[in-house]
């Protein structure tokens, strides 16, 4: 049986851990609010650029040729994987990694090129012999559009140089603070559907629609990546908050149980001592 000293030491340890998890929980819950409103703020631009693209594509009537639209046989595939730099976020990174492995199952390793955002995923895949062509660190408190631009430039270059024939992004969609969904979206070749929601009005274009579309396309890709990053960060913070909150609760529960054990041990010690005194006194009679 554990001695009282052992139990006291354990209580202290668990208490210290609880302090840390509680602090992490507070930080995450403050940041998740900000990340969430940032994700919401990114939506109007993304929706608008998609709408403008549709109108343009309809006006250009498929006469557009652009390197980012080139459909090739998918021999080499590229994957942008968004994980976090820091851990302590429950199953957040594990879920992303598992989805990536499932997605890559039909492909042999030499046909896959990975661009990693976030240290956790980068370490996992480079240790397992995947071809990680580029690794970025994932901002932990705020994503700026410039961060997304750096990533997007790399991806567009890989695609334009035909090093990869199709690019997907694996990120975690933010649905609510406790609900996140790992999502795989195709980024390149950019899919522009001219079909739905097109206003039939005759537009005047400056410059010509093909030129406009050519300039708009890279931005469209940037926006998609920015959005994936913002959503992922919000999910990361949400996951961390939930994980740390339950860790704090578990620690409290453990302290309670250990305190009970401690009291029991103390009681037993007192009883034992009393019995010894009584039997000692009896023996003297």
């Amino acid at each position: 049986m554990a001695t009282m000293r052992d139990i006291r030491r354990r209580i202290r340890t668990v208490g210290n851990i609880q302090q840390i998890t509680n602090a992490l929980k507070m930080v995450a819950s403050a940041q998740v609010q900000r990340a969430q409103s940032k994700a919401a703020a990114a939506r109007p631009y993304a929706d608008n650029i998609a709408a403008v693209m549709r109108n343009l594509a309809a006006a250009a009537e498929g006469q557009v040729e652009h390197p980012l639209l080139a459909v090739r046989e998918p021999k080499n595939i590229g994957l942008l994987v968004i994980t976090s730099d820091k851990g302590m976020a429950g199953s957040y990174n594990t879920n992303v990694v598992r989805t990536v492995i499932d997605t890559l199952r039909p492909y042999s390793k030499d046909r896959v090129k990975l661009v990693m955002l976030g240290k956790k995923g980068r370490l996992f895949f480079s240790r397992r012999g995947y071809n990680v062509v580029e690794g970025f660190s994932m901002p932990s408190s705020e994503v700026t559009f410039t961060d997304a631009l750096n990533v997007s430039n790399t991806i567009r270059r890989l695609f334009e140089e035909a090093q990869v024939d199709v690019v997907y992004v694996v990120y975690t969609k933010f649905i609510s603070i406790v609900k996140h969904l790992v999502t795989v979206d195709q980024v390149l070749p950019a899919a522009v559907d001219a079909g739905e929601g097109v206003s039939s009005e005759e537009y005047q274009f400056e410059p010509a629609p093909e030129v406009l579309l050519g300039h708009l396309l890279p931005k469209y890709v940037d926006t998609q990546i920015y959005r994936a990053m913002v959503e992922s960060l919000a999910s990361e913070q949400g996951a961390r908050m939930t994980a740390m909150s339950s860790a704090t609760d578990n620690a409290a529960e453990m302290i309670e149980r250990l305190t009970l054990d401690l009291n029991r041990a103390r009681q037993a010690a007192i009883t034992k001592e009393l019995a010894e005194i009584v039997s000692g006194a009896q023996a003297l009679k």
């Binding site: 009005e201 005759e202 005047q204 274009f205 400056e206 406009l212």
Partner: protein, 136 residues
């Protein structure tokens, strides 16, 4: 008679910058400035670095700095997808001046071609912001 207005919506990648009723707007198109009034025939244009002048109801004109983007006008709505978009009040003059100085130093140092192009673009953006902030 009340002036005829149109809906103006400006979005940047990071936020919804503006959603207002406006009477007229002048934007820097790549092929020259474009002025727009209510019920304009549909137009789509690429925008360049420069100033956007918006006249609201009650004769208030506000100037904004824009660093390029796209504009779509249709169905009495003008949508601008801007790379960045700030009103004179929102511009951080100290930051723009610092950026200007940095860009000038970089141009004076003459490093590789890419850096030069970037420094030049940064210089233009800083100058544009300062111009708008000073109301020139």
């Amino acid at each position: 008679m009340a002036e005829r207005t149109f809906k103006l919506e400006v979005v940047t990648p990071e936020r919804l910058a503006l959603k207002e009723e406006a009477v007229s707007i002048i934007v820097p198109g790549v092929e020259g400035s474009i002025g727009i009034l209510a019920h304009r025939a549909p137009i789509m244009s690429e925008l360049t670095l420069g100033q956007v002048k918006v006249r609201y109801k009650e004769d208030v004109t506000v100037r904004y700095a824009i660093s390029g983007g796209f504009m779509e006008a249709a169905e009495n709505t003008v949508r601008i997808l801007a790379d960045s978009f700030e009103s004179a009040k929102e511009i951080d003059v100290a930051r723009a001046e610092a950026a200007l100085k940095r860009a000038q130093e970089r141009l004076a140092a003459k490093s590789s071609d890419i850096d030069m192009a970037r420094a030049e673009a940064a210089l233009r953006r800083a100058l544009n912001r300062l111009r708008v902030a000073r109301g020139e």
